[in-house]
């Protein structure tokens, strides 16, 4: 991390960038927040550890509007989002100095809490310099340990790899943390009967409080005005008054990001109700791969997305019925 801070200071000092977009230490062991730094002094609060899960790509939409270049710290998976944002002209590549930061998998404090670990006072083992295989947690109710991988975010178990797709320089080692099949969960649902599927999603979506965290954190949901906030479309809703509305919201949201979603997993990370929202996006990704050929959004900043493309031989919608 020190290397990162030093480099940031250099870049600020030599005028390459006028600000640094990274993470600032929080007031609890696990809550660093995305932050801008404009001076060497401010960088003393810079932190980069296992809890820096936030994908900073989307912040670059606003940063692109500011004067001067911004040094932005992007993890390998974040770079996919950044590419996608370039493709959609939402960020300005020339306004970004991308430091590809190393990543050994990011942590989800809710996983610790699910294990019954509460009253957390300090956590060690989550620094980038650590091996990142065990966490030791001091709590008000005694010391606990936990395997690093057991506390990882869902997305890290299906890691897209340790390569950065776009960067100006790379600082720090990365690790491919994949230890699960990306589409296993989707396949499990696909194998269910319609009744089971319906019950599963009904239950999960019933928790939705329409806080819009999934949407607002999503780098693909970068609309200035979401259709669900727009009075022009007769779709504005602030609450799920009927269970239909949560389905409408999540299906349409997933549809709008289909072919654009990089599977960064931020939606599931931020959902206060722990709804596995990635299951929607990943279903579309799986279908797209199967129907139209493998496609990874954000692998580059040029390729046409699958929904703005076609071939004469595309399958018919009846395939949905036929393959059952």
């Amino acid at each position: 991390m020190q290397e990162l801070v030093n480099r940031a200071k250099e870049l600020l000092a030599d005028g390459t960038v006028v600000r640094v977009l990274g993470w600032k230490a929080g007031d609890l062991p696990y809550n660093p927040e995305p932050a801008y730094f404009t001076s060497a002094e401010e960088l003393d609060n810079f932190v980069y550890n296992g809890f820096c899960g936030a994908n900073l790509s989307k912040y670059m939409i606003e940063a692109s509007k500011l004067e001067g270049k911004t040094m932005v710290c992007l993890k390998p998976c974040d770079t996919y989002s950044f590419n996608q944002l370039i493709k959609e002209h939402r960020v300005d590549r020339d306004k970004a100095y991308i430091v590809g930061v190393g990543c050994k998998g990011k942590l989800n404090v809710d996983k610790l809490k699910e294990m019954g670990i509460k009253g957390i006072q300090s956590i060690s083992g989550a620094e980038m310099s650590d091996a990142c295989d065990t966490l030791t947690i001091q709590t008000l109710y005694g010391e606990k340990t936990c395997a690093y991988a057991d506390a990882m975010l869902e997305r890290c178990h299906v890691c897209k790899g340790k390569e950065h797709m776009i960067y100006d320089e790379i600082i720090g080692e990365s690790k491919d943390t994949k230890d699960a099949e990306r589409f296993a969960e989707v396949e499990k649902i696909e194998a269910m009967s319609p009744e089971e599927k319906f019950a599963f999603f009904q239950k999960e979506l019933s928790k939705c409080i329409r806080c819009n965290a999934c949407r607002n954190v999503c780098p693909a949901c970068s609309c200035r005005k979401c259709v669900f906030d727009s009075t022009k479309f007769d779709t504005a809703q602030k609450a799920n008054v009927d269970s239909f509305e949560e389905k409408m919201f999540h299906i349409i949201r997933a549809f709008h990001v289909a072919g654009r979603c990089t599977d960064c997993g931020e939606c599931s990370r931020v959902c206060p109700q722990g709804i596995p929202l990635h299951l929607f996006n990943r279903k579309f990704i799986k279908d797209i791969n199967e129907f139209y050929g493998e496609f990874q959004a954000g692998a580059d900043s040029e390729a046409r997305g699958p929904l703005t493309n076609f071939t004469f031989e595309d399958c018919e919608p009846s395939i949905v019925t036929e393959r059952r």
Binding site: P194, A199, D242, K247, F291
Partner: protein, 145 residues
């Protein structure tokens, strides 16, 4: 006569102006009957049909939604139905995934010359919806009478 209320499905059909709407016109002028449950909305092209329209139809009480367009390769706008085909394939797959009965949605390519196909398709579709019964999984209770 039985007093029991017969299930009369509400069915929305989106038809592109150039092929399918004309196909429906031909079905009409050829007096090829299909149930009155089907109501047609004219759109310029199948690519104008937003998935939102389909969900909205279900929300407001539709029991089935069918979209008809020109055959692939014959689109008046040359490529519209190719995009529509991908969109609908993905949408239908998603509806299937969340447990909505298969067959409540359908896409059929009907040319301006295929009055018979239009009529047959609608007859089949209405029958299918009859077998599936009332739309419950995509209903909005507020809109129920």
């Amino acid at each position: 006569m039985s007093i029991e209320k017969e299930f009369r499905p509400k069915i929305v059909a989106f038809c592109c102006n150039w092929c399918s709407y004309a196909g429906a016109d031909l079905a009409g002028s050829s007096r090829l009957a299909y149930p009155a449950d089907v109501k047609i909305i004219r759109v310029p092209c199948s690519c104008r049909v937003n998935p939102m329209f389909i969900l909205r139809a279900f929300q407001k009480g539709a029991d089935g939604v069918i979209m008809c367009g020109c055959h692939p390769g014959d689109c008046h706008y040359s490529t519209g139905n190719y995009y529509a085909r991908r969109r609908m394939t993905l949408l239908f797959s998603m509806l299937d995934y969340i447990g909505v009965e298969n067959g409540r949605t359908r896409v059929e390519w009907v040319s301006a010359a295929e009055g018979v196909k239009f009529s047959t398709t609608m007859n089949e579709f209405v029958e299918k919806i009859h077998s599936l019964g009332e739309n419950v999984r995509l209903e909005d209770l507020r809109c129920k009478n």
